[in-house]
């Protein structure tokens, strides 16, 4: 279990990226949901030992991640948001290089590890191809292979599905689900479906603060009977936003559909619907944002 306590970080330019973040993350997939700039990447990088927090702690079992950096790195698998490779290297050589740097120094062992991982992420057949020619999904799978070297206890995956087409995304999430059974996997994303589909536990983070942490179905259950939907005229949106707690607006077939959070039917024409994680997410974001900016 990963225990994060009171983690805070303020950048030199005054931006407070993390405010007193406290989270308990058990084994299994954990979704970290938040909009761009919420502080997700700061939290991920801090856990991945790539930057330092101003205060707070993070322990993986007995291991102090923030202070015992080398030991932390040895138990860590990290797929950063912008994962780069040398375009002229073949997948096999590159992974072999990574395995070496990570500490699999025995040549025989390394061969088995690299081979196993490439097969696991389904890149074995293209092992001799240059990475520059890989598609986005293949590259992300290669990234996961890299993160899995050395059986990490903590796997951190930062925005892995951004930019993937639906099929590639599915394939990638399946891969994650497979490995997320024995170890802690933190999946940071701003795409709600990633979490819905995969994560038994989650947290929502916005403006550096944890807004909600728990199991998705509990969070959804808390909104039972409080989400209302209506198809409205385009020009009327501002009016609704002023009067009600509009969680989201969406265009469906060219018409504006809004979701509103209310304990009772807000007005005629609304219909009650079963809440989903997206409503939870937007609900938290609305609560976090100053009212005037809500849109």
């Amino acid at each position: 279990m990963l225990a994060i306590r009171n983690l805070s970080k303020t950048y030199a330019n005054g931006v407070q990226a993390l405010k007193n973040v406290t989270l308990d993350i058990p084994t299994g997939m954990f979704g970290l949901l938040g909009p761009n700039g919420a502080g997700k990447s700061t939290l991920m990088r801090t856990l991945a030992t790539l930057q330092d927090a101003d205060s707070g702690s993070a322990h993986l079992g007995e291991l102090d991640l923030l202070h015992d950096k080398q030991a932390a790195r040895a138990t860590l698998g990290y797929l950063p948001q912008e994962f780069g490779v040398y375009p002229k290297e073949a997948a096999y050589t590159m992974l072999d290089h990574f395995a070496m740097l990570k500490g699999v120094v025995n040549a025989g062992e390394r061969r088995e590890v690299v081979e196993g991982l490439l097969k696991q992420v389904n890149l074995w057949d293209v092992r001799g191809h240059k990475l520059g020619g890989f598609s986005g999904g293949m590259r992300q799978r290669f990234g996961i292979a890299q993160a899995l070297i050395g059986n990490p206890k903590l796997i951190i995956v930062d925005e892995p599905t951004a930019g993937l087409d639906p099929e590639e995304r599915n394939r990638f999430l399946n891969l994650l689900a497979e490995i997320g059974e024995q170890v802690v996997v933190i999946l940071s994303t701003h795409i709600v479906e990633d979490v819905t589909d995969l994560c038994p536990r989650m947290a929502i983070i916005a403006r550096g603060e944890v807004k909600l942490a728990g199991e998705p179905h509990e969070a959804i259950a808390s909104l039972d009977g409080r989400i209302w939907r209506k198809t409205i005229a385009k020009g009327a949106l501002a009016d609704y936003q002023q009067r009600m707690n509009v969680l989201s607006t969406r265009l469906v077939g060219g018409q504006t559909v809004i979701h509103v959070l209310a304990d009772a039917l807000p007005e005629a024409g609304f219909e009650g619907i079963a809440p989903d994680l997206e409503d939870v997410y937007f609900g938290q974001l609305r609560a976090a944002a100053p009212a005037a900016l809500a849109a």
Binding site: V85, F98, M138
Partner: protein, 1197 residues
């Protein structure tokens, strides 16, 4: 639209702070160059004003080549900006024309560069007005040279470079390719410089140099001081052509950029398949098992990770196309420098491994500096620019691995360059049929020469890591390079302060690396420890993850600074300080006691020299006895580099009054064990200057004699800050009697540089005594304390060496493991002797019973027979035409190539291994300078060793010019009269070029004040022209009479004026105006053939009609010229050549002297054969600044 684009671009550029920063930095550099006295760039030396037009032109041209970096930033950077900022699509979807877009970008960038260069011109101009600039060295201020340079040189250059780099940038869309373009230009301009080393290829270099620098050098090559101070080069001829050609090329490149530019694709790829997305992507996962492994982080694992990363980085660098391109350019520079350097009179040297292995470092020095700087940036930023760092920084590998791996990769680059250089030079050796390859020597030189670059690599890595900004890292390296040069100029040349400095390690086939290695290695250890500390600092400050803010980096550094790092730092610091102290102890303490290797910064040495003059000039002319005999026992210990000299002078008082004070000077650095010369007291003892004055208890009465015994020792201790003295070495010792005591004030120790004198208030430059100074005729120009002396010496050396000195061997024996040689000269000789010792082979020849011996290094047998032959032929000529040879033997002796000269002592001629012994004379058509130099040195046995001039103006003409003439005659006998032109052309070129470097004033030959370009170069030309005019026999008869009358003369010594009197007496008065022109004036002819036509007559003969131009001017000492009337007789020649033949194959159809007394002359001459070319003064015997137009192809109708 173009206007909108252009004004948009100008606003962009002018609003860019980088432009203003760069402009200020460049302006400051220019200001420094013009206002600092120490900077002597641009040829502002001697009498040339600091702000002479030619100096301004040279400086601004120099800055315009430097500006390539600006162009890379402002023009190429601009071209790529829209692609880097991803704003390209924005522009290309607007209705902007491609032409307007490109021209706008290009024009704006070019304008920015022009702004910087204008700042340079302003900085320079302001610099000259600074109050500390020596007003005596300033000419009138004028804007003309600045404007001329800007519009003729700078702007066309910027236009060309900008167009080239712009074209490269828009077609490749790669800054990397652009940088490589910049490096390629540096390589090309280096090639241009070497190309112009060849006399006949100069105009080619002038045309090919895109920067016009060579064209300007060619146009101003023969300019006098006055011309340099007042004139700008003519904008015509090769210079104009060059400017036009390269501007046209630039326009073409711009057009090419326009044609190749595509808005819709990612740059321009040449026959390169664009990597396609890999298609194979199976849907079904392959079942796999990943084994459980434990990650290892122990030291063994770290080592293997390091090796792997080093291999990975090295492979990454070596596989890249940029490296191959740069390697190609590096090899090109090397090959060209191999082909064109080391030539003397156009004749090559054998490609000995000693020379080849040193030329690799020479060719690569600057280039490799750029390459290392460039790759340090590339390597440090590789992971981050590829965004791999986010992954690898989170791996559990140790912090030191990436940095160390990058150092290995850079080292590999250096070694690869050097190793490729070795392959190329070996190939070159084999292509020249030279098979003594010596791979071990190559390897040793490689280790010596690359060690500095590895330290440089550490520095380049450190500045990249510490600055954590690639551009600033590069800038810091440029600052480092400039400050290194600046430190040298400002006389901070102590290698303890000069980063990565070390004394040179000269290599000689004779002496190997000699004693030079230990000092070098200590300095390397010292700076190596420093480089280690830099690397350690970089390791601590290494950015891992997102910690780029300074206090985060410091926090990280603190965390990293564990016990291991502390120990390493302590060890490195201890090594740095310890070796520094040891070096200091050697260079400052040991080397100064005795001060043989003593280190003095350049200006301190000059101050000391000034002190000598101030303190002791009062004793000039102070009566001193004369030395009449020199006897010595000299023990040479080659392995210890030690010499013990016990000697005795016999002194005689030739003055009318008694002498009561002896003024004795012994060179600083010698240990004086004892001096004994009767009862005396010490009046003055100045060990710093090596001057002592002793008061004799019993004054030396007029005509009385006195023995002066000395016991001196030369024994350097420690090692010096530089290579130090090279006279006494393990194999190849050669020193002369400069190391023995001298009596009286020594004028030759006075400072000659006018500006340095002025700084020290020393008054005018000491000049040689005037030719009519009768008092000065009491001495020869060699020394002031002796005339002809009896000479005898016993010299000993180690058992395996031969020791030599002037005189004849009386006895040779071995005693206690040492070899002794007793030499004695049977006639009085000049007080000028040398001692030599080495392991030589000896080749013996003879001339009419006189033995001729060549002592040479066993692997240098190439030209030994030729030397013997030259000596024989010289004896043939001189004995017949002059007087008999005074000695019974002649010895030519090779000494190590630490200096390259030959010098004639009585019957003994030391000759450097760097010149004659390794000259490659296998090509028949090459000038055989071995033959020539040998003949010259043999001629000195007459000219100097029989007749020697007084210590007044013109005396070196009597020894040097006459030796040149004698050698020329031996050459002429050997090779034929028509071959002399090729040789004399080199002499003419050297004379004309060196005039501008004159520090005081140019004098006519008969008044030469030991100016080498006059007594050697002009001397050859003058005597050859004289011979052509009055005839060989007449001239030789005069010389013979002069030798007979003045040989072995006692004071007063003869002068050039006496020689001219003999000459006038011995020649027809009609030649006397010519003699005045040649010897007493500085005269330049302008002879040329304006047209040459020939008509075949019915009788099969040809009627040749020549239109000739002939004028002449007389120059004053600084070059001011006045026109003279032409009233001379010149040789007119008409020549035939076989079809396809060269000048060597030509035959003379007609060669006669014609009186010419007007500027334009037309001659009609009938010749028997078909003429090829014709000329006035066709053999270039007269001094003419354009010697090529003396001849012209004949148009045969």
């Amino acid at each position: 639209m173009l206007r909108t684009m252009l004004s948009f671009e100008l606003r962009q550029q002018l609003g860019n702070p980088v432009l203003w920063i760069v402009a200020v930095v460049f302006a400051l550099l220019a200001f420094g160059a013009s206002s600092s006295d120490a900077v002597q760039l641009g040829g502002s030396i001697g009498n040339i004003n600091r702000n002479a037009p030619s100096t301004i032109v040279t400086l601004l041209s120099g800055f315009s080549s430097l500006s390539m970096l600006l162009v890379a930033i402002f023009v190429a950077g601009t071209a790529l900006r829209d692609f880097d900022n991803r704003t390209a699509e924005l522009f290309f979807t607007t209705p902007v024309h491609k032409r307007d877009y490109l021209l706008g970008r290009f024009g704006g960038g070019l304008f920015a560069c022009c702004v910087v260069m204008a700042a340079v011109a302003i900085g320079m101009f302001v610099g000259y007005f600074m109050p500390w600039v020596d007003a005596a060295r300033m000419g009138p201020h004028s804007a003309a040279p600045y404007l001329w340079s800007l519009f003729v040189i700078v702007i066309p250059n910027l236009f060309f470079i900008a167009a080239a780099l712009f074209c490269l940038a828009v077609t490749t869309r790669s800054m990397l390719a652009t940088y490589i373009g910049v490096i390629a230009f540096f390589a090309l301009s280096a090639v241009m410089e070497t190309l112009t080393a060849d006399l006949d290829a100069r105009w080619v270099g002038g045309l090919l140099d895109p920067f016009g620098g060579q064209a300007i050098i060619n146009a101003t090559r023969y300019w006098s001081t006055v011309e340099r101070n007042t004139q700008l080069p003519d904008l015509g001829g090769v210079l104009l052509l060059n400017r036009l050609i390269w501007s046209a090329v630039a326009a073409g490149l711009l057009w090419l950029a326009y044609r190749l530019f595509r808005t819709d694709r990612e740059g321009f790829t040449l026959r390169r398949r664009k990597a396609k997305a890999t298609a194979i992507d199976l849907a079904a996962p392959t079942p796999a098992t990943v084994p459980q492994v434990t990650l290892q982080t122990g030291s063994g694992a770290q080592w293997r990770q390091f090796l792997h990363q080093a291999w990975f980085d090295t492979r990454g660098v070596l596989r890249g196309a940029p490296l191959l391109v740069m390697l190609g350019f590096g090899m090109m520079i090397l090959i060209i420098s191999l082909m064109f350097t080391g030539q003397i009179f156009g004749t090559e040297l054998y490609p000995t491994t000693a020379r080849m292995s040193q030329s690799i470092a020479g060719a690569f020095n600057l280039f490799l500096l750029i390459v290392v700087t460039f790759y340090a940036g590339e390597l440090i930023w590789r992971e981050r620019s590829m965004r791999v760092a986010e992954v690898t920084d989170a791996f559990p590998n140790a912090d030191w691995i990436p940095l160390a791996a990058k150092l290995v990769a850079l080292t590999a680059v250096v070694l690869l360059f050097y190793a490729s250089g070795i392959v190329v030079t070996m190939g070159y050796q084999l292509s020249k049929g030279y098979t003594h390859l010596q791979p071990l020597l190559y390897l040793q030189q490689m280790l010596i020469n690359t060690s500095g670059f590895v330290m440089l690599a550490a520095l380049a890595l450190a500045v990249q890591v510490l600055s954590n900004n690639k551009f600033i890292g590069y800038l810091l390296m440029v600052v480092y390079i400039i400050s290194r040069i600046a430190l040298g100029i400002l006389d901070f040349d102590d290698n303890l302060y000069r980063p990565f400095g070390a004394p040179a390690v000269p290599y000689s086939d004779m002496n190997g690396f000699g004693h030079f290695l230990p000092g070098f290695l200590w300095f390397r250890l010292y700076w190596g420890a420093f480089a280690g500390l830099l690397l350690l600092a970089s390791l601590l400050m290494w950015v891992r993850g997102n910690r780029s803010v300074l206090n985060e980096r410091i926090k990280e550094a603190r965390r990293r600074f564990g016990i291991g790092q502390a120990i390493t730092a302590a060890l490195l610091l201890a090594t740095f300080i310890g070796s520094g102290m040891y070096v200091r102890y050697n260079t400052k303490v040991l080397a100064a006691d005795p001060p043989t290797n003593e280190y003095l910064a350049g200006d301190d040495a000059l101050d000391r020299q000034a002190d000598y003059e101030r303190a002791y000039r009062q004793y000039k002319g102070d009566p001193q006895p004369r030395i009449t005999s020199m006897r010595s026992d000299v023990d040479i210990y080659p392995a210890e580099r030690r010499v013990r000299m016990r000697g005795s002078y016999r002194l005689v008082n030739h003055h009318d009054a008694a002498i009561d004070v002896l003024h004795v000077e012994i060179p600083r650095g010698l240990i004086t064990h004892s001096l004994s010369f009767g009862e005396h007291s010490v009046e003055l003892d100045d060990p710093i200057q090596g001057v002592a004055r002793y008061r004799l208890n019993t004054p030396l009465a007029a005509g009385a004699e006195l023995n002066f015994d000395f016991d001196l020792e030369y024994f350097p201790r420690g090692f010096g800050n530089d290579a130090g003295p090279t006279q006494v070495v393990e194999n190849g010792t050669f020193f002369n009697n400069g190391v023995m005591p001298v009596l009286g004030y020594n004028e030759s120790r006075e400072m000659q540089d006018r500006n340095e004198r002025r700084k020290r208030d020393l008054g005018d430059v000491p000049r040689m005594a005037k030719i009519d100074d009768e008092a000065a005729r009491a001495n020869t120009y060699l020394r002031q304390d002796a005339d002809w002396v009896d000479f005898e010496t016993t010299v000993s050396t180690s058992e395996d060496q031969i020791a030599l000195a002037p005189g004849y061997l009386q006895r040779e024996w071995t005693e206690k493991g040492r070899r002794y040689f007793h030499y004695k000269m049977d006639v009085p000789m000049l007080p000028f002797a040398a001692w030599l010792s080495a392991r030589w082979e000896v080749k013996r020849g003879e001339w009419k019973g006189i033995p001729i011996e060549v002592y040479y290094h066993p692997t240098h047998a190439f030209n030994v027979d030729r030397m013997i032959e030259a000596a024989q032929k010289s004896f043939d000529y001189y004995n017949v035409n002059f007087t008999p040879y005074q000695h019974k033997q002649l010895r030519i002796i090779e000494f190590p190539g630490y200096s390259s000269f030959a010098q004639a002592f009585a019957n003994t001629v030391p000759y450097s291994e760097a010149i004659g012994f390794v000259a490659d004379l296998r090509k028949q058509e090459d000038i055989d300078y071995v033959f020539y130099v040998t003949a010259h040195e043999v001629a000195h046995q007459w000219w100097a060793h029989q007749v020697i001039g007084a210590n007044v103006q013109g005396s070196t003409m009597l020894s040097e010019s006459l030796s040149q003439y004698s050698a020329l005659m031996v050459m002429e006998k050997e090779y034929g009269r028509h071959q002399m032109r090729r040789f004399l052309k080199y002499e003419l070129d050297l004379y004309l070029q060196s005039r501008a470097g004159e520090l005081i004033e140019e004098l006519p030959l008969a008044l030469v004040e030991n100016q080498q370009y006059i007594h050697y170069r002009k001397g050859s030309l003058v005597f050859y022209a004289l011979k052509e005019a009055i005839g060989e026999e007449t001239l030789n008869a005069v010389l013979k009479r002069f030798l007979e009358d003045k040989g072995y003369q006692q004071p007063p010594y003869t002068t050039s004026r006496e020689f001219l009197a003999y000459l006038r007496e011995g020649t027809d008065p009609k030649h006397h105006p010519l003699i005045a022109d040649l010897f007493e004036k500085i005269v330049f002819h302008d002879n040329r053939v304006k047209s040459a036509k020939a008509v075949k007559r019915d009788d099969g003969k040809y009627l040749v009609t020549l239109e000739l131009h002939s004028s002449k001017v007389e120059a004053a000492g600084k070059g001011e010229e006045t026109k003279l009337n032409v009233d001379d007789s010149f040789q007119i020649g008409i020549f035939a050549r076989p079809k396809g033949g060269e000048e060597v194959d030509e035959t003379v159809l007609y060669l006669q002297r014609h009186p010419i007394n007007s500027e334009a002359t037309t001659l009609e001459i009938v010749v028997d054969g078909e003429p090829y070319d014709a000329g006035i003064d066709p053999y270039n015997t007269l001094i003419d600044r354009d010697s090529n137009d003396n001849r012209r192809r004949v148009d045969v109708e």
